[in-house]
């Protein structure tokens, strides 16, 4: 067990180191963006005098290195600074937005992960027969459609024609859980359709890979039912690639849903980031970048650890 703990500790410290490197990349990246925040805030209405006033007030005249260290220092105490454009506290804003994003991602994951794995198992069970082909064809079709198009289709049918779900998925703190779930149903379904194929295909491929093994043959010779073989013997051995692809998709559900947020007016992180990128609000962009990187690294780490735990062979590397 202590070996496992050591492995986990190793992964976590590597993750933190990686995050630190990412913070440098993010900072440098935002520095080399063209244009400057003052011009972007004022847009067409910029005059030389109010530009100068704004630059002064935003502290844009300080050297980059000192800005990096004061930023890094702030992060350790949970202070991400204030947004240049609106003067609001970034930590607070991100807190609420991140909560919304995680909620939507979780609902989408709760719908899509079981369905994807179940469909994957079914596809393996009926390999190369019509259920397999039907499942592959429909999920591949849904991943091939652009997100916004799926979103519009769902709005048209479930929102406008049938009136089952609201087309505007704005959530706010006073909402009950039921109302919240009802509100996010359309975006969650859109996301489900987007990620389903990837996870389903991966499950199918991973299990099929295992199905070639000798012990599956043994199980067959024992006379076990084919579904039981898949569930009991193949899936546990295929869990590692499946966990990886599920985590990858979870990460996508959290960091890559800007389009869905825009269409359904969902107040998540993606829209928040894009709004501030377009106004060159560097502190917010940096903070969002860091949060996204942390989520990506964290989920990948989790996938690694789960793989190690699920597979004794990985616990004892040669």
């Amino acid at each position: 067990m202590s070996l496992v703990l050591k492995l986990i500790a190793q992964r976590v410290s590597l993750g933190i180191l990686l995050l630190f490197a990412v913070s440098i990349l993010i900072f440098v990246g935002t520095q080399i963006l063209p244009g400057d925040v003052a011009e972007s805030i004022l847009g067409q209405s910029a005059t030389p005098e109010n530009l100068a006033n704004l630059r002064e007030e935003l502290g844009l005249n300080e050297p980059a290195l000192s800005r990096y260290f004061s930023w890094l220092g702030g992060i350790f105490v949970g202070d991400l600074g204030t947004a240049l454009t609106s003067g609001t506290n970034i930590s607070e804003a991100i807190g609420a937005r991140l909560g919304n994003t995680l909620f939507l991602a979780m609902v989408a994951a709760f719908i899509s992960v079981p369905i994807a794995i179940l469909l994957g198992l079914l596809a393996v069970r009926y390999k190369d027969r019509w259920p397999d082909k039907l499942i592959s064809a429909t999920t591949l079709a849904s991943i091939s459609l652009p997100e916004f198009f799926i979103g519009y289709l769902l709005i048209l049918f479930f929102g406008v024609k049938l009136g089952w779900f609201p087309t505007v998925a704005t959530v706010f703190p006073e909402m009950t859980l039921g109302a919240r779930l009802n509100a996010v149903m359309l975006p969650a379904l859109t996301l489900t359709l987007v990620v389903l194929a990837h996870m389903m295909r991966m499950t199918r491929a991973a299990i099929l890979n295992v199905m070639q093994s000798a012990y599956i043959e043994t199980a067959e010779l024992k006379g076990l039912s084919s579904f039981k073989i898949i569930w009991k013997h193949a899936l546990p051995n295929a869990i590692s690639p499946v966990v990886n692809v599920v985590m990858l998709n979870l990460a996508y559900l959290i960091v890559g849903v800007v389009v869905v947020e825009v269409i359904f007016v969902y107040p998540g992180m993606g829209q928040y980031l894009v709004d501030h990128v377009s106004k060159r609000d560097v502190p917010v962009v940096q903070a969002c970048g860091l949060v996204f990187a942390a989520i990506y690294i964290g989920l990948n780490m989790l996938a690694d650890i789960l793989s190690i735990l699920s597979n004794p062979r990985l616990r004892h590397p040669k």
Binding site: T167, I263, V265
Partner: protein, 527 residues
């Protein structure tokens, strides 16, 4: 028959009959839909506004990076929210005059240099403090101050001093300006307690509503201000403003009944939307215009013949048809149209390939002319540029189009490159429009129009209190810009908004779309 119709329309106004059935029965009585609609809206008006209910608005143009400081508002969402909790001294009225809001009276000295505004009695801020002339003074000080970032800074530049005398607020100007009150209707100039110097983002004002929840770029909820002074506006008990930037989603929200009104219906789908049941589209002429601008001091555009050649080489009707889908009117190479007071039309310039070819030859220009454009310079700008390219080709003028990225267009291309596409949303008065973009010394003189005679006329018109003479002056100035300037103005765009039949009270307006952004506070929920 008319009695029957009148009876039916009253039934609708009292909500005993829905609008669809009314139109159907009116049609059966042989009345056109237009007449029936007019009849209906007057019946609803006569019935009077219904108080209470929740009115929901979908707005385009809001972002999570917006500020709640009224001085920093740059988009429709901010303007609507400002109008919920705040009020200016005066506001535009539908006839092109002024509606007295927090100023109950105003007067000027005959030289139009000193203006006195009497502050309305008995008005309180939403925090309970009584409104005084000092609050007005502090507000204008904050916006006009030297380190101000206010969007209204430019229009307040001509003020030399301000003071209060009892409940009067007095402005002294550097030079005469007969239009000063119009400038004070600017949407940034919400009167705040102590001018908002203590907390500019507190949203404490004298407006008909009190904002209860504000999530930038997402959603705003406001409740009726129980102490509001004017019983004629602010009907709904609660107003919810949702920012929906995606065009399709915004229209779908209206169609599925989740909101009662939405701004900016895309011109392309306006006629489709107007056919949806329970939805009414309002396409309202505006002072906003989509333009091609040349720097009149930069080669090759410093040649008047070349400018005239390009002005004759554009097909204005085609632009209105294909870019605005009929939701607009043709321009005449001046920034002014009949949306402005004191306007007189000049002779219309038309598409004339022969004249264009003649002037092009006279200019002696060789080769093609480079036009820069981008998606965000106005909706459909790249398409409009291609139409221009085609119509100019017929006159033997070759236009080369360079597509620029949206990012940085306003800082790198507009007002920097000699020929590009752009837009103006219009101003309250001709003076404001000309002073912003055509005066020699203006920061945003984006056509580099330097004309001494024009500048003199502009200043003279400010001091002229006789409307007839001013109209003539503005006419002459329009001619100068039209013939000599670097502006090619093919079209004035309409504001296209839509409302559902669950709300009533839509009326004419000047200024911005959605009844100058007052529809949420002036309309009411019917059922």
């Amino acid at each position: 028959m008319t009695d029957e119709l009148r009876y039916l329309s009253q039934q609708v106004a009292r909500q005993r009959l829905d609008r669809r059935s009314f139109l159907g029965r009116a049609g059966a009585l042989g009345v056109t839909a237009a007449t029936a609609n007019t009849l209906l809206s007057s019946a609803v008006m006569a019935q009077g506004a219904i108080k209470g209910g929740t009115l929901k608005v979908a707005v385009e143009g809001g972002s999570s990076s917006d500020s709640l400081d009224p001085a920093l508002v740059t988009n429709s969402t901010g303007t609507i929210v400002n109008r919920l909790w705040g009020e200016p001294l005066v506001e535009l009225d539908p006839e092109g005059g002024l509606d007295m809001r927090l100023a109950s009276e105003m007067s000027a000295t005959p030289d139009a240099k000193t203006w006195t505004f009497v502050i309305r009695d008995g008005v309180t801020f939403s925090n309970g403090k009584a409104l005084t002339a000092d609050d007005v003074l502090a507000t204008l000080e904050r916006h006009a101050g030297e380190d101000s970032k206010s969007g209204a800074l430019g229009i307040l530049s001509g003020i030399s001093s301000m003071r209060t005398e009892g409940n009067a607020f007095i402005i002294e100007l550097d030079g005469p300006n007969a239009d000063l009150p119009f400038l004070l209707s600017d949407y940034h100039l919400m009167i705040q307690p102590n001018g908002g110097k203590d907390d500019p983002t507190a949203m404490i004002g004298t407006g008909p509503y009190v904002v209860k929840s504000a999530e930038m770029g997402v959603r705003f909820v406001a409740e009726k201000n129980p102490n509001y002074w004017d019983p004629n506006i602010g009907h709904a008990a609660t107003i919810e403003v949702t920012v929906i930037n995606d065009d399709t989603a915004r229209v779908a929200a209206l169609q599925s009944g989740q909101v009662h009104m939405c701004t900016r219906v895309p011109p392309k789908v306006a006629s489709l939307v107007s056919r949806m049941p329970g939805v009414e589209v309002h396409s309202v002429p505006s002072a906003g215009h989509y333009v091609f601008i040349m720097h009149a001091n930069t080669a090759p555009f410093d040649n008047k013949d070349l400018r005239l050649a390009l002005k004759h080489a554009i097909n204005r009707e085609e632009m209105v048809d294909k870019i605005l889908f009929g939701n607009g009117s043709i321009g005449n190479d001046s920034p002014i149209n009949d949306a402005y007071p004191l306007y007189r039309a000049a002779e219309q310039r038309n598409y004339d390939p022969d004249k264009a070819a003649f002037h092009f030859k006279a200019s002696g220009h060789e080769g093609s002319v480079l036009l820069r454009t981008s998606d965000n310079s106005f909706p459909g700008a790249p398409d409009a540029s291609q139409l221009f390219q085609q119509s100019a080709k017929a006159a033997g003028i070759s236009l080369e189009i360079k597509r620029e990225p949206n990012d940085g267009y306003w800082s790198e291309v507009w007002n920097k490159q000699p020929f590009c596409t752009s837009y103006w949303s219009g101003r309250a008065t001709q003076d404001a429009m000309y002073s912003t973009a055509y005066l020699t010394s203006a920061d945003w003189n984006d056509t580099r129009f330097f004309n001494e005679q024009f500048d003199q006329l502009l200043f003279a018109a400010r001091a002229e209190l006789d409307d007839e003479k001013r109209t003539q002056m503005y006419f002459d100035m329009g001619e100068m810009v039209r013939d000599d300037g670097g502006l090619i103005c093919p079209m004035f765009n309409n504001f296209i908004d839509a409302t559902s039949d669950k709300v009533a009270g839509w009326g004419p307006s000047k200024g911005f779309g959605l009844m100058n952004m007052y529809a949420p506070v002036k309309m009411w929920v019917t059922g």
